[in-house]
Amino acid sequence: MNAPPPPLAPTGRSQTAGDLLEVSMGPHHPSTHGVFRMNVVLDGETVVKLTPVFGYLHRNHEKIAEKNSYLGSIPYTDRLDYICSMTNNWAYVLSVEKLAGIAVPERAEYIRVIVGEMTRLFNHACLAGFLLQDMGALGTPLMYAFREREKILDLFEALSGSRMMCNYMRFGGCRCDLPEGWPEKAARIGAGFESFLDEFEALLTGNEILRARSEGVGVLPRELAVNAGVTGPGLRASGVNYDIRKVDKYGIYDRFKFRVPLGERGDVFDRYMVRILEMRESLMILNQALHDLPDGAIIDPKVRLRNLRPKAGEAYGRIESPKGELGFYLISDGGPIPYRYRVRPPSLINLTVLEDMCMGHTIADVVIILGSIDIVLGEVDR
């Protein structure tokens, strides 16, 4: 890697005139959740300008995918948002299914919902843990969240063979069927997660320090959130009722009863709270899906995994990933590799409003505002 480092102030030096101080935060700052850098201009402790700098983890995922077969891109999607590989798989296979017109057996749809909601559970739990770590609660909440995540990852390993890089879904269904006893184990862990959430909330939600640090901090107004394309819990915390599971009803989401939690003020606390409430709704979906799980085929037997050649055309498919709207835009020219492969990364686009949210707050608040957006650099930089 001989790339010259990006210059410190890409927009010029004039911004540090007077008593302003320019701080380069990251790329190895522990609170930036990866290799993310912000050029923060400070007046005392107050932020007056913030420029995010990307690209430290850029590997041109899209170009790699345009040289690989449709099947060969699935393991690469695992590595986008490396916490939620299952939902990444899902968004990609959904787009390929749209592009090639492939139907999915019912059992596979249910399994997708189950693993997708489990992914949302541990993503939100970990995010809450990380956010608290950023506020100074070093370790404890994060370790409790990781303990629960570990149990779900064990389930994923039993199912797909790998804990994090699952590579589990295929266009037309899923790769393999559930092992013996898996649904029962999943139901048990789901029930355990419920009591974990009660504990977690007792530990955190009423905590005075959490409230003092997060209420009124990093407010994202509703209009700005919509205009800037913020999606996921961050958008709903600003009071916009937009959940793709409800809007698109992709897969079989119209069969489940669940509510969409909304925030009022759009501050860091609302973003935290929306995620906690979403976990409870995810548990409801999980229980319904485990209860209704039908028997049957796991993958459409007619589908060609190798050498899939969709008709020339294009398709955009999107799902509600734990981070927001994860979309894949594919163009086929009739050949075995996609002509154009584009990931719509929710993490990157949610960062558009980082500066607006941080403006006027202290540098310590920048850390928790960034933490409440929930980014993963594997997806931001691709």
Binding site: A3, N60, N227, A228, T231, P310, A315, R342, R382
Partner: protein
Amino acid sequence: MQTLEQIKDRIAAALPGARLAVIANASPAGQPSLLLDHEHALEAARFLRDAPELRFDYASNATGVDWPERTVKERVKVKKMIDGVEKETEELAERKIPGCLEAVYHLYSMELGHGPLIIRLRTGNRTDRVTLPSLTPVWRSCEFQEREIFDLFGIVFEGHPDLRRILMWDGFEDHPMRKDYAPAASGEAKA
């Protein structure tokens, strides 16, 4: 949601002189798109966002596509004089499709819950006429995505507030997502 034809007619009525074209999509996804011209793109985008029954307030995805110049071979019927008699024969003719860069936007409406509406903009060619109007003034969500298109495809967006490279470093010269991109021999990326 209204059909794409209806939306096209509405834009044409609101913006006289706008050159619009519907681009069909053969895939089962059935997502046809609307090609806008440069002069009216920004106005059309504002119209799509603000018209009360359209309200495409959310630009979800913005991306580039590279279409290098290609030649298509097709059978053409030609009239020829053979031995003094005019005859119709089939001949293989080559047709050149000029290359261009394309920006594709996927629009949804959060207020009304419909979408996607796909709009496209095309540059004149792939070398010197690569300027397109930026839609960031209408939808802020395009800010980073247009920067990414500029970085990886080399489309210059006019009216973008902060058009710099986003993923590649500042001294980098080529545009890696173009189809003819060749990694430099000394560069870090090897095929």
